[in-house]
Homo-oligomer: 232 residues x 2
DNA sequence: ACCACATTATGGTCAGACCATAGTCGAAGA
DNA sequence: TCTTCGACTATGGTCTGACCATAATGTGGT
């Protein structure tokens, strides 16, 4: 038997090759958001592959939130470069949660980490809090746990947005998105949302007064109230 | 014009439908890692769609790190459920960085957030630090910036692993992965890696002595040394 | 100018074929 | 009986060519 020198032959599927070439074009030619890729048929001919392979590559890019395909004709048709990582991150987390490859506890811990950081950041930067206030009034008007969670999500995502870091904000949105049903359940069990409301006000005031430590503390205690079973 | 009651018809592509049905099967039937999906041809016939559509759906799931396809025959062939979010996250970040949809500053900030949190967690939990020590000796033996970054990445990912949170660890790995080339450049510019080494030792000792605040501080100052241009 | 219809470029879908790969199974031989 | 080797087959990977739906664009008539 051959013991040395043999590397397993790298099996590269065609669509992966297409993928690599498209990515190379993006980085080398400096393509940016809004630019159009060639049409599927044209790309297939230029690369010497079938349209199916091109389509599979584009499907991957679409899944990752890098391109968006439009049918029809005109300047907006075809595969256009975008940058929408939110949906991709949400799908990713939701599916892996569903496979129980991740525990809910881990997601909530990650959320706590992000939110503390973001709240502290927002407080330091004295960020605009109008979105936070709007979400607050939305929660007051909510008539069901689902509606409450809707505005609650808006509130917490607004904190992440206020941090000014789009990557962190995107991760935050995805975390909330993928655990929506757990959030609704948590609100149902807590019943009394007045405690949560007081927490929200406290967070908001801490950010407005520019107190990062207090903002982080407020976030921490808020999550402890919202998920009492996880923080004993 | 009709002002009320009309919702735009939701255009659902076939593969999205397939995707939804597969996901439903995963959650409802409690499928888990290691289980096999039906063969492409069989799935296509059962769902009444073409094999291409099934393939596009599977391609999406593969991109998200949820299934892994093997050719051939036998128990390991076909589409098998997995849970490998790392590659998906890396691709996501790398592509969006390339599109300048994200600034390097944002990625580094996110990394700082994660690493401070993870180091503090590891210190509190008095986590096992053997992987950290191993990476440290690896860095000492490195002969090039590439090799150094290799072990440096291992060191920092080991911190995230030591936090015990797999989601956070996966995000960390992806962040490092997607910014590898920037890291190499940073090491090249810093030149003197002895400062970085001292930082690493300091982080390691803080974790071993169970001092979360010191661990977080050490991480923060380490990143300031590694990317002096970003932290003025 | 304006409107109605034909044209066309685009993605979306399908059917069917062929290839490469890797277990499975059975027959031939030791 | 056991081993070995070749045929078989189930699987994903790829390609071709066709047709459909959509939406902008050209074109002609009013």
């Amino acid at each position: 038997m051959d013991v040395s020198g043999w590397r397993p032959v790298k099996r590269t599927r065609t669509f992966e090759d297409v993928l690599a070439q498209i990515e190379r074009r993006i980085t080398e030619d400096g393509l940016t958001v809004g630019d159009r890729l060639p049409a599927e048929r044209q790309l297939a001919e230029q690369l010497g592959v079938s349209r199916s392979s091109v389509r599979e590559a584009l499907r991957v890019l679409e899944t990752l939130g890098v391109v968006s395909s439009q049918v029809g004709r005109g300047p907006d048709a075809g595969a256009v470069l975008t940058s929408r990582p939110d949906a991709a991150l949400s799908d990713l987390l939701r599916l892996h949660l569903g496979l129980t490859g991740l525990e809910l506890r881990e997601v909530i811990d990650a959320r706590l980490m992000i939110e503390q950081w973001a709240a502290a950041r927002a407080a330091t930067a004295r960020a605009d809090t109008s979105a936070l206030a709007a979400a607050l009034t939305g929660m007051d008007a909510a008539g069901s746990p689902e509606q409450f969670v809707e505005h609650d999500t808006a509130f917490h995502c607004a904190i992440a947005d206020a941090s000014g870091n789009r990557l962190v904000a995107a991760i935050m949105r995805s975390l909330r998105d993928s655990m929506r049903k757990y959030s609704v359940e948590a609100v149902r069990q807590v019943m009394d949302t007045s405690i949560l409301r007081a927490d929200h006000v406290r967070i908001l005031e801490a950010i407005e007064s520019g107190d990062p430590e207090e903002a982080a503390r407020a976030v921490s205690e808020h999550l402890a109230h919202a998920y009492p079973t996880l923080f004993r």
